[in-house]
């Protein structure tokens, strides 16, 4: 009890600041306001569990055609958010709590780190100087631009603001004391905030290797202590084990030669084009000045930016050669400043360019963005130490006056962040549309509507943006602009922007320009688009957004009215309306369900091959039955004679009846009946070699039909979303259809050529279509579950040992 009192007495000022920092974010947003947009959005704060279901448990992107993606690392974090959401039931509360955690965590752990480093240098009577310096260091870090500027449109890695100092502190304490409890808490933190420890995140590689190198040097060279190698090894094994659920899928994907990660890491032309050329293009934006003078760019605060660099230079002047820890921090400050600014001599730039040939280094192509947090961290350590060197030369009273002045200048120079003005900025190139949004309840009802639809059809969103974004206007003069809430919060795929519609995006715009509505309907059919979602509010289009993010669509549909007219030409029947949110069916005559068997094959060649592939093969089709499989001439000759492939179309007779059901987004069951000839089965998800088809030996069971198409020859069943059950691994050990029978159709989709031989002559049977990469995610989860159990038992043992060793009163 006394020790607790002592602690509060010693750190009362720091505790007071912690309370202030925890309260500050409540002034940034008013209740009901949200700030969710940006490249990766924070839709997980709006509805954590819906976000989790749609984006983190399966290895497929929730939007568009269903690209392979690895987002499993979000799982523990989203579960934690889900739990907090369950208590408060408010995205506002969740947002503010996360902001508070960033500020408090950042300050507290910087405070503790600097305290831990400096307390070696002073006796008890001079500890007040150390406390003053640590508080200044903590405040400087907490309000630094790398923290504040990025909090607006924050990426998930923004949590590194407090995670970096927290893990650093726990590791420092572990290496110094060799007590397992620090290691255990460190591992627990990495598990909960696993998105920051994903192998796909540059932040992991920018901070932790340098931080651990620093700590090893500090402990072994300065403190002259040996490292606890055995415990470190246990820690590394446990880390890999509990993180297997996201590390394993990323590693497997990285070594798949067809994957994006593999190309980015190992392909020389990708390193040159996407890495080095990008680096060269943004090089002139990086400035050494920015690395020394931290500023939010507010003209009234320009004068106050001198504190950091001036105090560091004074710190150097006052430092002694024997203060080797100061020199060590300085070396890491120089390294990180070089990495962040890049523009230090031409030899330095050339050296930097050479680094890109290290596999994986091109993840730092946006070098300023990736290294800024690390630079701020070491800058703060150096500054905290310098504050101490300066203050300890002064009389106590003068040092307190100086402390107040420095706090004042930190507050003034960072006022834009502290006051929350940084959030109150309009979206770029819009008519003062705020990034802060009050969510329209009608939109929430629309999301519910989509969630409750029993079928598996996709959605097309209007207005259609030029990126992969969706725009949702708020009740206020604000809008959400970011990844589509329609897909991320409903688990239903949609097409919200130009990038998502690849490879058909340019063709789509051209068809609008040509007013070729039939071809657009045909395209929607090929893409399995069942719903057209139209936000009629003019504030969602040109009225508020004269340029971005509609530059492309505005060229062909320059007014809200022309957009409405266009939607009127392609829509089917209206099925939902709430406020300005309308949902129509797409034209039923062209709709193709998720699975279908084509009645004709249309071979296509290199016509219109300007962009490297023919993506307008469907435009001139005259066929009334939309069940067409468009296949390239090269694929066609694998199944038909050359003369057949030269025809306009190849008719297929005696096609089977099929029924299909989604088990989850990576696994479907298809029931085939009445077949005795070869046929093609088309699955309208993005082609990937790891989509596998398994023909089951068991008797086929009839599916309960919720909707029939084409006179009952395609039947859609009631879908499920089963993540794990007794049948999850039913295809394990089974032989899939050979890859030679799996090919791309319709310019993007999967097709299998299935013959009676494949089914062993059976006329009725079941096929399981499965994304085999999902298995890796299951294996990873299994490994993590085992290690997590061990880890928790170890934590329990540490707790018991601590209790035993506690002195009895």
């Amino acid at each position: 009890m006394n020790s607790l009192k002592d602690f509060f007495k010693k750190h009362k000022l720091a505790i007071f600041i912690v309370i202030i920092l925890a309260v500050i974010p409540f002034f940034w947003l008013r209740p009901g306001e949200l700030e969710l947009g940006g490249d990766s959005s924070r839709l997980y704060l709006y509805d954590p569990l819906s976000y989790l279901k749609s984006s983190s448990i399966y290895s497929l992107a929730p939007d568009g055609l269903g690209n392979l993606w690895m987002n499993q690392s979000m799982l523990p974090f989203l579960l934690m958010l889900g739990f907090i959401y369950f208590i408060f039931h408010s995205p506002y509360a969740l947002t503010i709590l996360l902001y508070s955690l960033s500020l408090v965590g950042g300050f507290l752990f910087i405070y503790l780190i600097i305290l831990e480093i400096l307390k070696n240098h002073v006796k008890e009577d001079k500890l007040s100087y150390v406390h003053a310096a640590t508080i200044l260091g903590g405040l400087f870090y907490t309000f630094a631009p790398s923290v504040g500027q990025n909090i607006h449109f924050a990426l998930i890695i923004q949590n590194q603001v407090f995670l970096n100092p927290m893990i650093f502190y726990l590791t420092l304490m572990f290496l110094k004391s060799q007590k397992s409890k620090y290691l255990w808490f460190m591992l627990l933190t990495t598990f909960i905030f696993a998105p920051n420890f994903s192998l796909a995140v540059p932040a992991l590689f920018s901070f932790y290797p340098l931080a651990f190198l620093f700590l090893v040097l500090y402990v072994t060279q300065y403190l002259k202590k040996s490292l606890p190698w055995k415990k470190l090894l246990v820690g590394i094994i446990l880390f890999l084990g509990i993180h297997a659920f996201h590390i394993l899928p990323v590693i497997v994907n990285t070594f798949d030669p067809s994957s994006y990660y593999n190309t980015r890491i190992f392909n020389a032309s990708s390193i040159q084009n996407e890495g080095l050329n990008y680096f060269n293009a943004i090089l002139h934006y990086a400035m050494v000045t920015k690395s020394f003078f931290y500023t939010y760019g507010a003209p009234y605060a320009q004068w106050a930016i001198f504190v950091g660099p001036l105090c560091i230079i004074l710190g150097f002047l006052l430092s002694k050669a024997k203060q080797k820890d100061f020199t060590l921090i300085a070396i890491f400050f120089f390294i990180t400043t070089f990495l962040e600014s890049a523009n230090i001599t031409h030899i330095g730039i050339e050296f930097y360019r050479k680094l890109f040939y290290i596999p994986g280094f091109s993840m730092f192509r946006n070098f300023y963005g990736q290294w800024q947090w690390v630079q701020t961290f070491f800058y703060t350590l150096l500054l905290g130490y310098s504050f101490f060197l300066i203050l300890s030369k002064l009389k106590r009273k003068i040092s307190y006056i100086l402390l107040c002045l420095i706090v004042g200048s930190i507050v003034v120079s960072n006022w834009e962040f502290i006051s929350g003005q940084i959030f109150r900025q309009p979206h770029r190139a819009t008519k003062d549309v705020s990034t802060i949004i009050e969510m329209d309840p009608h939109f929430e009802e629309t999301l519910s509507f989509f969630r409750n639809q029993p079928d598996d059809g996709k959605i097309f969103d209007f207005p259609f943006t030029e990126f992969s974004y969706q725009v949702i206007p708020g009740l206020n003069r604000g809008a959400y602009i970011g990844p589509s809430p329609t897909s991320y919060l409903t688990g239903r795929r949609d097409f919200s922007g130009h990038q998502i519609l690849e490879p058909f995006s340019d063709t789509f715009i051209k068809l609008i320009e040509e007013k070729n509505y039939v071809a657009i309907k045909r395209l929607f059919g090929l893409l399995n688009i069942k719903y057209i979602f139209y936000i009629t509010d003019p504030r969602a289009y040109k009225e508020f957004f004269p340029q971005l993010p509609y530059s492309v669509l505005l060229k062909v549909l320059p007014e809200s009215k022309s957009l409405t007219d266009f939607v009127g030409k392609i829509k089917g029947e209206k099925i939902f309306e709430q406020g300005s949110y309308l949902v129509y069916n797409s034209d039923n005559d062209y709709y193709l369900p998720h699975f279908y068997v084509p009645t004709s094959i249309v071979p296509y060649g290199d016509k219109n091959k300007s962009a490297g592939e023919n993506v307008s093969f469907f435009v001139d089709s005259k066929e009334k039955d939309p069940r067409i499989g468009y296949i390239s001439n090269e694929e066609c000759v694998r199944f038909y004679s050359s003369s057949d492939c030269r025809q306009d179309k190849i008719k297929i007779n005696n096609i089977p009846t099929i029924g299909f059901k989604r088990i989850n987004s990576t696994k479907y069951k298809v029931v085939i009946s009445g077949t005795n000839t070869p046929f093609f089965l088309i699955f309208s998800d993005k082609f990937h070699k790891d989509w596998k088809a398994f023909i089951l030996n068991s008797e086929s069971k009839k599916l309960k039909v919720q909707e029939s198409y084409f006179g009952g020859s395609v039947q859609e069943s009631y879908h499920e979303n089963i993540f794990l059950d007794s049948k999850t691994f039913e295809t394990l050990g089974m032989k899939s259809l050979p890859e030679s029978q799996h090919f791309m159709v319709n310019g993007y989709a999967n097709a299998w050529h299935i013959t009676p031989k494949d089914s062993g002559g059976k006329n009725n049977y079941e096929i399981i279509i499965e994304m085999s990469q999902q298995r890796i995610a299951y294996y990873g989860l299994g490994i993590s579950a085992i290690f997590l159990t061990v880890f928790l038992f170890w934590g329990y043992k540490i707790l018991m040992d601590n209790r035993k060793n506690r002195p009895k009163i």
């Binding site: 090089l283 000045t289 660099p309 430092s319």
Partner: protein, 118 residues
């Protein structure tokens, strides 16, 4: 009398030490004021010249840090008297303060190496 002469000599020596900083500072100012683009063909010879001065006159790390302080004031003056926009990009030419900042970085590195050796 003897003491007075010694103190004058010491004062003169200190004044002379101050003059040792003038050539590198003039060279740095010449580099940033007279040339639009930086060049390693100027940067490294100036650095080597300064290292020569350190060895020749046994300059302490603090001497280097005083030069850093001077460079810092130059950057600060430009910073507060100009629009923040000029520090947004080095295109088409880097601002005066940015070129000085590179020199500040390099001199801090030299100073820390000196301190390490002390």
């Amino acid at each position: 009398m003897q003491k007075k002469i010694e103190s004058i000599n010491l004062y003169q020596l200190k004044s002379l030490a101050f003059f040792k900083f003038i050539p590198p500072i003039l060279l740095i100012l010449g580099d940033v004021l007279f040339f639009q683009k930086s060049s390693d063909w100027r940067t490294f010879p100036i650095l080597i010249f300064y290292v020569f001065l350190i060895i020749r006159y046994k300059l302490r790390a603090n001497a280097t840090f005083f030069i850093c302080l001077f460079l810092f004031f130059l950057i600060y003056i430009q910073y507060i008297f100009s629009s923040p926009a000029i520090f947004e990009s080095q295109y088409p030419i880097a601002p005066f303060g940015e070129k000085i900042a590179v020199w500040l970085y390099l001199f801090l590195v030299i100073g820390v190496i000196q301190r390490w050796r002390e």
